[in-house]
Amino acid sequence: MSAAGVLRFGLLVLGAAVLLVLFAGWRPGMPWQPQRVLEIDPLRWQGQGATVRRDGDAVHVSGATAEGASLIVQALSAFDTADYRYLQLRTTGPDGDRRGYLLLQTESGNRSIQLPGHPAGALSVDLGAQKDWQGRVQALGLVMQPTDYIAGHLAPAPHYVLGAMRFESANLRAALAALADRWYAYRPWNGRSNHTGGFEHGADPGPSLQGFVAALLGWWIVLLWATRHPRRMQAARAAVLAGVAVLAIQLGGQLALRAAVAVSSARLAAGHPEWPPSAMPAMANEAAGLLDDWASAPPPRVLVWGNDNFTREYPVWLLRAHNVAWLVVPAQLSLLAQPEPGSVLVLGGRSGWTYDPARGELQLGETRLPAQPRQQGAWLHVFAIGAQGATP
């Protein structure tokens, strides 16, 4: 390699290191090692719906609640979140299709922070970037629960070993580890993933791998021209190709993790038609029960309403086997002059409506109508609607 080549390569590596440090959130004065560390005592964990067995410094956690959540908690001497920025956690054993959450009890209420990726292995989390990392923490919890697509109880009870867990003040070593975890850890699909390629996670701004790759490419191209590389155009093309490949490999990794979870969920749900995989398994279970109940005598018309978009619209998909539609506003009931005998109103969720059993009357916002309760679930509430329709 020529001297120019060595210089170019050296400057590329230096640029990559500087960019990594900047993307990791380095600020002047940030040390390599933490100045404050809060080790979490492994002997003080207590299980809630899970069994805790201590083995030296490790904690074996097994079992889960009926909903599939495996929760351990511990009270501790209150500490200020402002003193610590990073969580370092090491676990072995939880299934790949479980998600982990850090629970915080603070003086201003309980908060939860989703841990990135599969909870197995070593994990660094930049808590300082989380809006819920605030206040004084009085107690901690750690919960492992199954993916969103299947009912919790279908998943086998987890068993995992919790090793070291500690909070660290701002330091570059943890910042770089958290950056890597953020870029490459598993991100589950959600109901909006078609809108953003599955990476959006709401308003969760973080260091961008795209931005990093683009900046590094830009630096490399500057170096190619500045050092008069004899085949700079060709070298730039190859670098762009490499950048695209890095991002494609990140995508492939995400897809592999997501595919594994999808297969695992489908396998666990197989043989349980009453608990179909869905965007909300608990609601899907209740809908499956209604479909069974209505199989012999289907209601001629099913109206659905809920106080938010999801509880208003998703039950319609689950009940599509019937003549079903959702009301944008309850007042639209007045358009139904004469409900056919047997027609039902399904209310999603518990908010936005009340039922007066003495008067046999349902009130949805300003709309009142005679109705008789038929089935009451946690998510779906079925009422036979009166023959005279709604009275806005």
Binding site: Y149, W189, N190, G191, R192, S193, N194, H195, T196, G197, G198, F199, E200, P205, S208, Q210, G211, V213, A214, L217, L241, V244, A245, L247, A248, I249, Q250, L251, G252, L255, A256, R258, A259, A262, V263, S265, A266, P276, P277, S278, A279, P300, R301, E313, Y314, V316, W317, R320, A321, H322, N323, V324, A325, W326, L327, V328, Q332, L335, L336, A337
Partner: protein, 462 residues
Amino acid sequence: MAWILVVLALLLPAACGVLALRLLLPGLHPATRLGAGYLLGCLVLGNVLWLAGEIPLAGLRGIGLPLLALLAAALGWLGRARPPRGAPVAAGPPRERQVVMGVLILLGVVGVLATIQALALPTLTWDAWNAWLAKPKAWLHAGAFVPVLPLEAWLQQPAGSARSTVAAAYPEALPRFAAWLAAAAGSWRDAYAHIAWPPLWAALGLLCYGRLREHALAPSAAVVAAGGLLTLPMFAAHASLAGYADLWLASAVLLAASSLFAPAPAASWPQRALGLLSLLLLPTIKLEGTVYAAMLLAAWALFRLPPRWRWATLVAGVVVGGGLFVTVGLWLPLPGAGWVGLRWGEATLPVFGSIALSWRPVAGIVAESLFLLPNWSLLWYLAPVALLLGWRRLAAPRIAALAIFLLGALLFHGVLFFFTPASAWAQDLTSLNRLLMHVVPVWVLLLALLLSPPAAVRGRAS
């Protein structure tokens, strides 16, 4: 057995599409034929079912599958004497072959992973269960293609005579095709409808690759461009999370644009007919398809003019259109929807009525979505660089026509997101990326042509 029938229901229309293209357009690159054939087969069948109206679903499998098998056999027989005339793939230098192999392996892995998810996951994402797959599921259970009405109309209909969805007015080609797939099985399972999406993803890649090869790009350059397109996270997400219409529209826009502006050796009346058929299909996929069809038609009309008139017409069009816009207003037909009125500060739309056109501050979220969130890989970083490096090639008429179409789409998206209440859909990221997605395959085609070795394009640009 059900799965075999579903796979047959998917493959037979695709085979008809591929064989029809082999018969009518033997000069197409084999990859183009496969990609376009799949897309056309599915969409034409969806439209035929739409035209058929309120037919029962019970007999569809018994009649439809044998009919399609007969049609495929007939097309195969008719085309037997016309061996494909696609250019043989020359074995390039070893490094090129390694690039091709590497990209193909990566795409194979992504394709398998997307297919696994499409088949294993329930219908998970919002518009899939609320709009695009709502109709087919309702029809399957009703046993017929019963009318689907808006809520107000449905409430006043006798129970059982119709169904209702929030997207009653959306085009039905895709929902009808999804219903066809499930009808082949005789029951509804989300996966029966989802199965069409991963092959569509592959078809889009084949179409992109084939079209670039027809433009004489080297196999390695064409496969890198197609691979880059397919590994954009938005496209991989739509292949994995089946149920949205955007991947179909994006593929059809690419087919229309690449057919209308095909390179000279491949340009022929069947090629133009393919372009016009694709244009006609656009509004049957999504409402936005009408806008893209109108823009492609305008770009094509411009492209067909003698060179000395072309730029004068473009300038005159911009001046007259701009003048009308700022003075008395501009009225444009939107087939199937009505008239769109545009005037300085105001737009009148068929469904939404009059809306104010004023600046909306969404530049931050748009920039974040294009450059920082992992939706588009490096595409929007590369696009301006490619335009700068290849600006001389923009003078070639076919490339200019593609660029003019993309400029029109940019204007459409810009006005929509920066000047209308649709800015809310950019702010919450519900529509911004999906609308861009519709024209991204054409962007990839254009950028690949701009960055390709000059000889490959110059010789075919006239």
